[in-house]
């Protein structure tokens, strides 16, 4: 018995040692890069990564990233893209899902299939025709062009989530409201949408984050700094082989702030959405 006990104790200690080591390894890139964003270029060149900065240079680094490196413009662009993209997609997709689930629509399953198939392709399948289309229609390198694409790419997953959510709403609710003289659009706006906060949150969390993190389409469909989204700007900056590494890392962290905040606010919808994301 006592042998078994001590064996258990040892394995417990090993378990802790293992997980503490792994957790430290996981924290190392984050902790050391945050520390780096407080340092001057001089400290960065002459210190090892765990040493504390001799001079707190955080504000100057942020200033460098925001102004000289243009991250400020990129961030403001992306705030528009991600917010408008996600919200308009939520409206368009919830209307479609409402009709597919609740209105008597012939061929509703094939319509849903058609909308949903959009997410199945690797993104490389969209790039060339979009690029050509954008060049020939004048959408290339415009904010409206990027917004239109971001709305479109958000729609399939959003429709999928809203369809699943609306199916669980009892039919009787809709019928009762119609007896009271409510139109279909009224039922959608006054009954279905106010109930859909969980669905809206899941879609907003995933699609805001998706648009914010996009590199590929932003890079392909735009070329000037005044239009390009934040991740394209950051990738550009990191490719320039610059000397101000603390400034670059500070820029990377402020570029991450919006998604970190959205994650914290909507964190309980994350695991739900993750499962849906793959199920779809």
């Amino acid at each position: 018995m006592s042998i078994r006990m001590s064996f258990k104790k040892i394995s417990k200690i090993l378990l802790y040692a293992f997980f503490i080591t792994i957790a430290l390894l996981w924290l190392l890139p984050i902790g050391s890069s945050i520390l780096l964003s407080f340092k001057t270029i001089n400290d960065y060149m002459n210190q090892t990564f765990w040493q504390l900065p001799t001079k707190f240079n955080f504000v100057a680094n942020i200033e460098y990233a925001w102004n000289s490196a243009n991250i400020g413009t990129f961030i403001l662009n992306s705030i528009v893209y991600a917010t408008v993209g996600a919200i308009v997609a939520i409206i368009i997709a919830s209307l479609a899902a409402f009709s597919i689930v609740r209105l008597k629509l012939k061929g509703r399953n094939s319509l849903f299939g058609l909308i949903f198939i959009g997410t199945m392709f690797p993104f490389q399948m969209f790039l060339i025709p979009l690029y050509i289309m954008y060049l020939s229609t004048g959408l290339y390198n415009t904010k409206i062009g990027l917004i239109l694409f971001y709305i479109a790419i958000c729609i399939p997953f959003a429709t999928f989530v809203f369809r699943g959510f609306f199916i669980s709403v009892p039919k009787e609710l809709h019928e009762a409201a119609k007896l009271d003289g409510c139109s279909d659009l009224g039922v959608y706006a006054k009954i279905f949408m106010p109930m859909s906060l969980p669905a809206i949150s899941v879609v907003f969390l995933f699609q805001f984050t998706w648009v914010w993190n996009d590199l590929l389409f932003g890079m392909t469909l735009s070329t000037s700094n005044s239009v390009r989204p934040v991740m394209v700007g950051l990738a550009q900056l990191s490719g320039e082989n610059l000397t101000n590494v603390p400034g670059l890392i500070a820029g990377a962290w402020i570029a991450s702030l919006p998604t970190i905040i959205v994650f914290i606010l909507l964190r309980r919808y994350f695991s739900q959405g993750l499962v849906l994301h793959v199920a779809g």
């Binding site: 959009g118 392709f121 490389q124 969209f126 990738a235």
Partner: protein
């Protein structure tokens, strides 16, 4: 008249969604298929050349190398990221401060692939974290320019990606663990099964649905791997660390060979569809056999 409106109006709700998806996703996907049979550089109209792009693709040593890299990405991410995710999920609940450990593994999920790339470029730099630590513990001989040496640069990027995604798999397995019937595990415990036996013969088989989800997700994401490579090595040096997705971008938008780029995109799509279909079919069959 009234009746007519009644029939049409439900379709008006679907129309915006359908139009957006058709214009920006479905039509481009189809068009890429057409372009892959042409030679096209944007300056002159596309010229139909049959399957020449596809034939060239199979003889192109750069594409072969990209294919092998894509394979490494896929296999190693599935083993390491899903494996670690499972390990974290199973282990973390036996610890005090489980919430703290979960939080730590969860942090990278809030960062974009570009940010992860930027951080890890710095980590692998000649005066970066890895080399500093190696020097410090007396293994200075091992220090090198990690992202410039082939084939180690691909594996370095895979490690960065595992760091970034293991937490996501942990979240999936934690959801899976919550739904497990505790009686079965307790019964196995009473039957004298040790921790490893309980895990291997009871917990892990019961987690199969979540394993399918996690593996499918890793499979698709790593077959399409682009962002982190673009930021960390740009596919270099000498195209050595490209994956198919990076090669497609390079052939199309750097070399302006749109027909050839489209052909790579089509091949990549076929690979993604076929592998995920085979994997899921195999697994659903196995699930049916279990129950």
């Amino acid at each position: 008249m009234k009746n007519w409106i009644k029939i049409v109006s439900p379709y008006l709700y679907v129309l915006p969604a359908l139009a957006m998806v058709t214009i920006f996703l479905l039509w481009p996907a189809l068009d890429t298929g057409f372009i892959s049979f042409t030679s096209y550089n944007l300056l002159t109209p596309p010229r139909f050349i049959g399957i020449s792009n596809y034939i060239r693709l199979f003889e192109d040593p750069f594409i072969l190398n990209s294919f092998l890299n894509t394979l490494w990405w896929t296999i190693l991410t599935i083993i390491l990221s899903v494996g670690l995710g499972l390990l974290f999920a199973v282990g973390v609940n036996r610890l005090k401060f489980a919430g703290f450990f979960k939080f730590v593994f969860y942090i990278p999920l809030t960062l974009s692939a570009v940010v992860i790339g930027v951080l890890w470029v710095w980590i692998y730099q000649s005066n970066g974290l890895v080399n500093t630590i190696l020097n410090e513990i007396g293994l200075g001989g091992w220090s090198q320019t990690w992202l410039l040496n082939v084939p180690i640069n691909t594996f370095c990027m895979i490690i960065a990606w595992v760091w970034a995604t293991a937490g996501q798999n942990m979240v999936l397995f934690l959801i899976g663990l919550q739904t497990l019937p505790t009686e079965v595990i307790e019964a196995a415990d009473l039957d004298g099964a040790n921790a490893w036996q309980r895990f291997w013969h009871v917990t892990f088989p019961l987690l199969t649905p979540m394993t399918t989800v996690a593996v499918t997700m890793s499979l698709i994401n790593s077959l399409n791997q682009f962002n982190i490579i673009y930021v960390m090595t740009g596919g270099g040096p000498y195209r050595s660390s490209e994956t198919l997705a990076v090669s497609m971008y390079r052939e199309s938008f750097t070399m302006m060979k749109f027909g050839y780029g489209a052909a790579i995109a089509v091949v990549l799509t076929i690979i993604v569809f076929v592998t995920s279909w085979i994997y899921m079919r195999h697994n659903f069959k196995r699930e049916r056999d279990v129950y």
